[in-house]
Symmetry: C2
Subunit: 367 residues, 2 copies
Amino acid sequence: MKLDDIPTPALLLDLDRAERNIAAMAERGRRLGVGLRPHIKTHKCLELAELQRAAGASGITVSTLYEAAVFARHGFRDITWAFPVIPGRLDEARALCEETGPELELGLVVDHEESLAAVERAGVPFKVWLKVDCGYHRAGVDPAKRASLELAARIASSPVVRFAGILSHSGQAYSARRPSELARIAERERRIMVEFAARLEEAGVGVRAISVGSTPAMSRVRRLDGVTEARPGNYVFYDYTQRVLGACSLGACALTVLATVVSSQPGNRHCVVDAGALALSKDPGPERARPRAMGRIFADYQSNRLDSSRYLVSLSQEHGIVRGRFPVGTRVRILPNHACLTVACFDEYYVVRGDRVVDRWRIWRGR
Amino acid sequence: MKLDDIPTPALLLDLDRAERNIAAMAERGRRLGVGLRPHIKTHKCLELAELQRAAGASGITVSTLYEAAVFARHGFRDITWAFPVIPGRLDEARALCEETGPELELGLVVDHEESLAAVERAGVPFKVWLKVDCGYHRAGVDPAKRASLELAARIASSPVVRFAGILSHSGQAYSARRPSELARIAERERRIMVEFAARLEEAGVGVRAISVGSTPAMSRVRRLDGVTEARPGNYVFYDYTQRVLGACSLGACALTVLATVVSSQPGNRHCVVDAGALALSKDPGPERARPRAMGRIFADYQSNRLDSSRYLVSLSQEHGIVRGRFPVGTRVRILPNHACLTVACFDEYYVVRGDRVVDRWRIWRGR
């Protein structure tokens, strides 16, 4: 099968590019002296996780219990569920451990006394990470607070669970205005985490692991001394947002949506493609992108050239509105704003090398 | 099972409310003298389509060929694929007709010579609707243009396909600033369509059907003289956008996302729930909503009271950021901005009556 034969809308995974991205990030982790625990919420795909494992990944990160279950049932044994535990789902987490057996290391994340108590009630010796807020201000304890040291000590002395270490996510990197800012954000995250660990050690709480990460921070960080692992996810594919942040080149972007122009009226200044909000998501992309757009169109994919005058200006459920016109029937290759949300719109990848379709891989979406 | 036992995040379908919405719209269609062909892209659910059929729906509308195939295989025989035909998918459409047999009436939509030619090449006597632009300016031919009459005549005289009639979608109703504007938009759509049909008749092109519709227009339209059918979809559930438009009351909103507060740090002014962009979609809701928010939280669902001080201000993939705090473990019921996109995030509904879970219904998502 060739690219030209794929029914649209379709999700294309450029395997040459993804392989290069996986190899480059693995090499980057080795040079920085940290383990890699890739976040598979980006791709939700067993085959890609296998490639990451083959490149040396020490384990995987997931964002939902469904992802944990799928990957555990397919041979992944070291999994961090990097989302603040949902108390009502702990019975399912316990059942998964019982089903998979003691070789499954399922790490959970807490940032609150209440969550820890819920995990302890589940009665399973889970590995528990303490989530630390390093400036993103989404979740995580404030490392400057006395109560945060106390919560770490509570986990470390728990009669039920095991203290895994401390974990952060530098999501504020997505608001960086220039690439140098990414490096500063990453260094600040590193310093806060290492200093917090030192204070914990002083207080008698041994910290075996320090886990950090986001793709933009990892793309620019200069050193990770003291950190033990990083959890980037998006880097497998990158996307237009990462490009604008300066985390990647256009030639690294491995995920596109193939679409067909289905309506184009003479006299209009727009046309319509069959990729709308349920193919691209309604992610508006980075604020500093000019022009703002809901998706970019490649003028020439092989030479990494975007069409500067034609792009998606708005999306309804299945319609994508393109500023500028193409003839009806034209097939376009769209670079999404946000690869992770785009993947979650589809059930499978068309895996391509050049213009050959070499495979179709399942996307495991669920809750 | 009770509401309290449902694992989060979960999609709740309030069946009492949905039944009332279905009955009310069926009654409205009868009073206006038009058939109803509900758009099932909103719910993607066989059970709900059965309820719509039982209430008198003359057929269904779908937005993807996958939806057409699923509903055809489950006994729905009169289906309009209300999306400009995708030339590369016509082989699949033909295969579906061959599989289902001649009792399947699959209506296609075209607004371009090129699309009509592609449909004719498929060699199946499809019913073909001509899409007309009544002011939304997304797809559809300009009814004022000579070429539009000619395209209709081309369809009507096709040796292959059958001319179904003319079809429009008043999507501009979603930009209305007040309910009275909805009525004006609907009347304008009606008038344009009826006049266009009259000109076609004059030119010797018989127009057997005039299909219009959107939920907001249907909610306020005063008469539909000359129109034969309407295709609202969202009305089964409604949502916050419809509420702001004035298309429904809060008590009609039948779709909510049940979520749990998973992180809440002392000193912060926000907390985090387990419903993010993959539970609610990134639909920003109506521009004139104050405050702008990514989702509203019911203070009291039974009495239809929203929490005025706590609502979702931003969403990442699985995290929902709530302005204002709740204790960790609190379960909240979220009214989405856009029901259709929210449904497409889930695989099933928890069907509830009051606080009892009475069933679980599958959501058929695919392409």
